[in-house]
């Protein structure tokens, strides 16, 4: 075993392991990313139905409806300019309230309703997700003192 031989083996091993890691990353990046969209963006250019979307904005006041089974909830998410209807089944996070900034993960149904599999509200009442802040700024609805991070 010479130094050169050993170096060759190591280089081959590095290429193999890192090559497969790169391959895995490229495949995964292609189909497991959730794209952040504001309601305006979502309405302007509807994404393909299989695309994972993070829809963020404020829960529109007066739109939260709970079904009689106690589980299904529907509400609208707004960025001030546009709003999108959302359906969700399950327990809402503790800080889910009307007027509150939320992010929902899910897919757009062909009927134009967003079907959420997860609803996230952050762990602090003053907190607005950064994406939501940006979306509000874009639609001109941002006011100082709404909280959140910049």
């Amino acid at each position: 075993m010479t130094r050169k031989r050993r170096r060759l083996y190591i280089v081959v091993a590095v290429l193999l392991v890192f090559g497969s890691a790169t391959g895995l990353v490229l495949i995964a990046l292609d189909d497991s990313l959730d794209l952040f969209q504001s309601p305006s963006q979502l309405i302007a250019s509807p994404p393909p139905p299989e695309r994972g979307i993070r829809l963020g904005g404020l829960v529109e006041e007066g739109t939260v409806l709970r079904a009689t089974d106690g589980l299904s909830v529907s509400f609208r998410i707004t960025d001030g300019a546009q709003s999108v209807p959302v359906n969700y089944q399950g327990i809402l996070p503790d800080l889910f309230r009307e007027g509150q900034g939320v992010i929902t993960l899910g897919k757009m149904s062909p009927e134009g309703t967003f079907v959420a599999r997860e609803v996230l509200a952050k762990h602090d009442e003053n907190y607005l997700p950064r994406e939501v802040v940006d979306a509000l700024k874009e639609s001109g609805q941002w006011r100082e003192g709404m909280g959140g991070t910049e």
């Binding site: 091993a13 497991s32 990313l33 994972g52 503790d94």
Partner: protein, 664 residues
């Protein structure tokens, strides 16, 4: 007054750090012994001063001194004492002070226990350690000072975020920090070695205990954090691939690699340059872990505060530390002498493979965590994406499975040149265990994904493989038990440590697979008196009552759990409102057996007497924390190995003969 003294002590600590970082370094360069020796008293002085500063802040918290801005923002007079104390580090400023405290403590530990280090190396290690301290103290004093007063002082504080008012989280940050900061010692040793231009087996022997200690803390810290997320967030999950989790996991992955490559340096004097690089990168990731999350660049629960001044300071600090050390590495590393040769199939070869997989896995986690940031910068903020668990499941998991598979083989290979067939032959029992466990999992869970069944097999393979390696060494059942006992006692502690750590990982893995693949979840709306069935248990919902806590109001539900008609437990999940921040939290009720958890959470009332209820049955989930505990125990056992004890006398001949197969 005490607060001002604390502030002043922190400034004096900065002075001590500057002394510690300058004179001994110059002394080491010029061979001036007296100047080199200054490092030790300076390190101890710095520690004393930081302890004083930290105690002053703690005093302000305990006595609820609301003239201090930091206390106002994060404490409240009605808070239980435990959370008044833990509130000290439950915020950005205080956590920075804790970081400095741990850093100074590690530095002093080197000063105290490093008696047999060559004086110039010790002076340089302490010097580098002081440089890190200077950076952090400056950062704290200028951008995150916890000692600032407010005037007029408010009557009461704003309370600590209720999610942080929890025993699991109270001790998670100190553990995690001890892990992060512990790697600073490996880093300082690496930089000092680069300055000295010399890395040898002795160097590796000095670095290993510190790396082991840091690794054990970090493992414990991550496990505590995950445990907290599991029972406090109410989602029944224990790992979310959230940026905060990822940044603590990356130094763990590289730290694990470092732990193994340092063994090769120690035993075979090979992989030196790589080990130095790993030490630098591991600590760099720890720094990124502290800062990137804290600075709010990546948003998460832990992003306490954001302000541009801090961000700028952080960037400079990161650039100087990481950039500077990598430049030093590029200049000095080629001068290090290459070490011993080895065949690809050998213990060294196995360690190289281990390092490759860990580094590649770390790289995928790094990419997944920072990709949203990179993409946003490249597209000027137009493209916002998030990288969720599917990405990590598709990249990280496939890289881990072969690694775990090889983990059983590696320790069977001797140094320099190994015999793969022989090693595999010794693993027959492990193969049998793998097939049996996979079959059992398939049978018990009536199917389930083939991959998961296979992964259970791999976990069993590793577990039995690790045990077989140990039993072979002590010749269990092949020689009289007393003989085996004698052999076990003479085995180096590091060998026991490895067996524990490897089998611990197998336990963790089984827990992860079991709880994610065979989890059952029932979400429903219940009226009092109704019953739900989950995985063979029935839960009778008795209703909800109001309870008052010290600083919260709770709706407490009562469930009577029965199995086959027999009452086995009563669960009390709660929904709390913390008055000061008017913030609701969910308190899960968990009934655990060692084999599975029953996990109940209540949601909102529907206004007509019904409540949303979520119940999980998670098989094997306690094994995750049990396994982590075994891993930490392995780390600490290994740490107690006398050969690693800095300053320990050389081993006696007799011991060396008894432990002929080199320890890992």
């Amino acid at each position: 007054m005490i607060v001002e003294l604390g502030h002043f002590a922190l400034i004096l600590a900065l002075v001590a750090a500057v002394l510690q970082g300058s004179l001994p370094m110059i002394g080491a360069a010029r061979g001036n012994h007296a100047w080199m020796e200054l490092a030790r008293p300076a390190a101890l002085t710095q520690l004393l001063l930081v302890v004083f500063a930290f105690s002053a802040l703690t005093h302000a918290y305990v006595t609820s001194d609301f003239s201090v801005a930091n206390v106002v923002e994060n404490s409240h007079s009605a808070k239980p004492l435990l959370y008044k104390i833990t509130g000290v580090w439950g915020n950005h400023e205080g956590s920075m002070l804790l970081w400095i405290l741990i850093l100074a403590a590690f530095g002093s530990a080197v000063a105290v226990f490093g008696g047999n280090l060559p004086p110039s190396l010790r002076a340089r290690v302490l010097g580098v350690q002081a440089w890190i301290g200077i950076g952090f103290i400056l950062f704290t004093l200028f951008t995150s000072n916890p000692f600032l007063r407010v005037f007029p002082a408010p009557l009461d504080g704003q309370d600590l975020n209720p999610l942080l008012q929890d025993p699991g989280l109270a001790f998670h940050p100190p553990m995690l920090y001890a892990g992060y900061v512990g790697f600073s010692i490996a880093f300082s040793f690496a930089i000092a070695a680069l300055i000295e231009g010399k890395v040898d087996a002795a160097w590796a022997r000095w670095v290993r205990p510190w790396t082991l200690l840091a690794w054990s803390f970090l493992t414990g810290g991550i496990a505590l954090g995950s445990w907290w997320a599991y029972y406090e967030l109410g989602w029944g999950g224990w790992w979310f691939w959230d940026p905060v989790e990822n940044v603590s996991f990356m130094p763990w992955l590289l730290g694990t690699a470092l732990l193994h490559s340092a063994i090769v340096v120690e035993k075979r004097n090979a992989l030196k340059v790589w080990t130095i690089l790993l030490a630098i990168l591991t600590f760099s990731l720890s720094l990124i872990g502290t800062f990137v999350v804290r600075s709010g660049v990546l948003t998460s629960v832990h992003a306490f505060a954001t302000d541009p001044e801090r961000g700028f300071f952080i960037l400079i600090l990161l650039a100087v530390t990481i950039g500077g050390s990598l430049i030093l590495f590029a200049i000095r590393a080629p001068a290090l002498k290459a070490g011993g040769l080895f065949a690809p199939i050998s213990r060294e070869g196995a360690m190289v493979i281990n390092n490759l997989f860990l580094a590649a896995a770390c790289a995928t986690v790094f990419l997944g965590t920072l990709y949203p940031l990179i993409l946003e910068m490249l597209t000027d903020g137009r493209q916002k994406v998030s990288v969720g668990p599917p990405f990590f499941n598709a990249t990280f998991v496939p890289l881990m499975v072969p690694l775990v598979f090889l983990m059983a083989v590696g320790p069977m290979l001797p140094w320099k040149r190994g015999d793969l067939a022989g090693a595999l032959g010794r693993l027959k029992l492990a193969a049998l265990a793998a097939v049996t466990a996979a079959g059992l999992a398939y049978y018990l869970q009536s199917g389930g994904p083939v991959l998961a069944v296979g992964a259970i097999g791999v976990a069993a393979w590793l577990f039995v493989g690790a045990l077989v390696e140990w039993t072979d060494r002590v010749k269990l059942f092949r020689v009289p038990l007393a003989d085996s006992w004698h052999r076990a006692r003479n085995l180096p502690r590091a060998a026991h440590g490895m067996t524990l750590a490897h089998s611990g990982l197998a336990i963790v893995m089984a827990g992860m697979i079991g709880s994610s693949v065979w989890k059952t979840e029932v979400v429903t709306n219940l009226m009092p008196g109704e019953t739900i069935e989950v995985a063979g248990y029935s839960l009778l919902f008795d209703g909800v009552s109001s309870q008052a806590g010290p600083n919260y109001q709770a709706d407490r539900a009562r469930f009577t759990v029965t199995r086959e008609g027999e009452e086995i437990a009563v669960l009390f999940p709660e929904k709390r409102i913390y008055q000061v921040r008017s913030m609701p939290t969910t308190e899960a009720a968990i009934r655990t057996t060692l084999l599975a958890d029953l996990y109940a959470v209540i949601g909102d009332s529907d206004g007509q007497g019904g409540w949303t209820v979520r119940v999980y049955h998670e098989p094997l989930v306690p094994w995750i924390w049990l396994g982590c505990f075994v891993m930490v125990a392995g780390g600490l056992t290994s740490l107690s190995d006398r050969r690693l004890r800095v300053g320990a006398p050389r081993r006696r001949r007799k011991d060396q003969a008894a432990s002929r197969p080199a320890a890992a």
